[in-house]
């Protein structure tokens, strides 16, 4: 099993990778910090990974995507799976005051993902097998005043994936949209958490199983599916009176 992980130092990606490491997978890990990539890589190696390669990249440099993916393919001699897991939880208030801030959030959470997927789709379509999984979010299911910039970026990714799945299903390539709810990770450290918070470990295991069984859309934990069904079906006139 040869896996490319983009955003490999994220807590969710690491937890997913731990499961694959146990199976003896080979990894190409991409992230911004070499030190963190090495920390994660060493951990995966101890846990059973057969091979670890690291690649330092800021995904907002879109013009470097092609080169990174080519390097991953040649280094591992092909790819069986991809997990795209990078992201930032931007400051909604800051975004509302600044176009630059909003665009920055969009580049990180949406356009960079679309750029990567466009390149990867061609490779996988030609290979006619494999699995592409992307960490989107329940926030992309409906825009809410508290985080609609992040939500819109993730929503864009979710719709893009929907179309891509439709296209690649003809070539036997699985496209998995992962929609986590609130997870206890460094990214959400500043958010006050209630009952519904899940551990990165349980979400990582969920992603692993979804990738292995080539699911289409998974909510993690599962209870977010009915919750978001309700949230999506509230009429706009009612929704506007709520502050969510």
């Amino acid at each position: 099993m040869r896996i490319l992980i983009i955003g490999a130092t994220s807590a969710i990606a690491h937890e997913t990778a731990k499961c694959f490491a146990k199976d003896g997978a080979e990894f190409f890990l991409v992230g911004r910090s070499l030190e963190k990539l090495e920390d994660v890589g060493n951990d995966l190696k101890v846990r059973g990974a057969k091979r670890i390669e690291t690649y330092v990249l800021d995904v907002t440099c879109l013009d470097r995507h092609q080169q990174m993916i080519e390097t991953a393919i040649t280094t591992l001699d092909g790819l069986d799976m991809v997990l795209i897991a990078h992201g930032t939880l931007g400051d909604q208030q800051k975004c509302q005051r600044s176009v630059a801030e909003t665009m920055k959030e969009f580049t990180t959470n949406c356009t960079s993902v679309i750029s990567l997927l466009t390149i990867l789709a061609g490779y996988f379509e030609q290979q006619k097998r494999g699995c592409i999984a992307v960490v989107s979010s329940v926030a992309g299911d409906r825009g809410r005043q508290s985080n609609y910039v992040y939500g819109a970026a993730k929503g864009g990714v979710s719709v893009f994936l929907q179309g891509l799945r439709n296209r690649l299903s003809k070539s036997g390539v699985a496209v998995v949209t992962v929609k986590p709810g609130l997870i206890d990770t460094p990214m959400t450290a500043s958010i006050r958490k209630g009952l519904l918070v899940a551990s990165a470990k349980s979400v990582g295991e969920g992603i692993y199983h979804a990738m292995k069984s080539r699911k289409d859309v998974v909510y993690l934990p599962w209870f977010w599916r009915p919750i978001m069904l309700v949230v999506r079906s509230i009429p706009e006139a009612v929704f506007n009176r709520l502050s969510m």
């Binding site: 030190e35 920390d39 994660v40 101890v46 460094p186």
Partner: protein
């Protein structure tokens, strides 16, 4: 695995006392460490809060949560040498190494402790008489000091700081990672023998017979029976099973139970404890029982009940573990058991064990040759505190010690008598570090006042 009971406010396992830090700061990466000198308040590392009292807490200080430093670094499978970040739990270690034929050299009664905490408390286990403490198996670690130094400490490098940090209660700096030796096993099963005993004399006799034969020994005891026998109980001893045919046998996973809420405080009282003891003692019909069982129920019977500390209700409880030397210890043990029985305080879980002679490198290490007894008492205000003060006196006169990892109340005077190297130790305490425990016990002038 979620470590239940962990909330934003750091708490200790006994849930007494309640201590509020000024700030909780999480550390996520070794490459992104905060500048420790920049904090105005004193610091203390914290992970899973499995110390019982206030040694892992700091009132008004900065609690440095290192539980996210939870990555393995290297594993030499030929030598059994494991290196990992300090927030890795022993449960994480077991999950990794047991299927590969290795085991933790020394394990406490719960696997939900961090490696850093196991070093800082120099924890011991059922094999103390054969293997010493956890610190005896640590080959080196890296210590972050508030002046920014990141020192490798081992018996050969910064050796004094190595000795101070083992059993050093987190006061000498932050352990970032540690390397320690594992022990080889053939399979994950334990050959166990359970022997009923009906007096302290009989316990001593069984202990003398079994200590050489068995790697692991400990006893559950009932100290509320009164009379000349002092206690009765069940002596449990075991060895790692040696048959290779069991190596591939699958162990069924049991879902852990969770205590869902704080029990009302009347649930645990002398009557219920006595009834429980009666039932438990007689649950074994013959004098000796042989059994082969997986390692988890043998080492970690309480880990199968998450948040069992809630059985004591909101008031919390105090653990009390002491050791008394073999020579004068018998009289001291007799006096202590008598005192507890008369106080009417019941201890739900009481554990008796002998410590061996293997010396730990730790300056403040608790175990020393003798008899050790661990009890827990529901917190009942001044009454409980007074009883424990009385017990401290007896322990002190016999030349024993009380375990800091489980303490929330011992006096400075007694601490300094229990740990004669405390002044030497205090030289290595990081000037920016402290704990609620340390503030209480390190008053230098207390001895002079007496």
């Amino acid at each position: 695995m979620s470590f239940s009971g962990k909330t934003n406010q750091p708490r200790s396992w006994g849930r007494y006392p309640t201590v509020t830090p000024a700030e909780v700061r999480s550390v996520y990466w070794r490459s992104e460490l905060p500048d420790l000198a920049h904090f105005e308040q004193p610091l203390l590392p914290y992970a899973y809060g499995r110390s019982y009292g206030d040694s892992c807490l700091i009132e008004g200080g900065v609690s440095l949560d290192v539980s996210h430093l939870r990555r393995f670094i290297s594993f030499d499978e030929a030598e059994g040498l494991l290196c990992c970040e300090a927030g890795v739990s022993l449960a994480d270690v077991l999950e990794l190494v047991v299927p590969r034929g290795w085991f933790i050299p020394v394990t406490p009664g719960t696997k939900f402790v961090s490696v850093g905490g196991a070093i800082a408390n120099d924890v011991h286990g059922k094999n103390h008489h054969k293997a010493g403490t956890f610190g005896c198996h640590v080959t080196r670690f890296r210590l972050l000091r508030s002046n920014g130094e990141r020192l490798i400490c081992s018996p050969y490098e910064n050796s004094k700081l190595f000795e101070a940090t083992i059993g050093g209660l987190g006061l000498t700096g932050v352990i970032l990672w540690a390397e320690f030796r594992l022990k080889p096993i053939v399979n994950p099963f334990i050959d166990m023998e359970r022997i009923q005993f009906s007096s302290l004399d009989e316990f001593m006799q069984i202990s003398a017979e079994t200590d050489q034969k068995y790697e692991y020994t400990m006893s559950w005891v009932d100290i509320l029976i009164g009379g000349r026998d002092l206690c009765r109980g069940i002596f449990m001893c075991g060895n790692n099973d040696q048959s290779s045919s069991l190596a591939s046998k699958k162990i069924g996973k049991k879902l852990p139970l969770t205590v869902p809420f704080d029990f009302p405080s009347f649930v645990l009282n002398t009557f219920t404890v006595k009834s429980y003891n009666e039932l438990y003692y007689h649950s074994q019909f013959s004098k000796r029982v042989h059994k082969v069982l997986p390692y988890e129920p043998f080492f970690y019977p309480l880990d199968s009940i998450h948040e069992w500390n809630r059985m004591y209700g909101k008031r919390g409880f105090l653990q009390y573990q002491f050791v008394v030397p073999f020579q004068d210890g018998f009289a001291a043990m007799r006096e202590i058991i008598g005192r507890i029985r008369h106080s009417g305080e019941g201890s739900f879980l009481t554990v008796l064990k002998t410590f061996g002679t293997i010396q730990s490198p730790g300056m403040l290490s608790f175990p020393r040759p003798g008899l050790t007894l661990a009890l827990d008492f529901a917190f009942d205000g001044q009454k409980t505190l007074r009883l424990l003060d009385e017990l401290d006196e007896i322990v002190r006169q016999s030349g024993g010690a009380v375990y800091p990892a489980k303490d929330a109340r011992m006096s400075a005077e007694n601490f300094q008598a229990f740990f004669p190297r405390w002044q030497e130790f205090s030289y290595y305490v990081d000037p920016h570090f402290s704990s609620s425990f340390w503030r209480r016990v390190s008053h230098a002038n207390t001895l002079a006042m007496v």
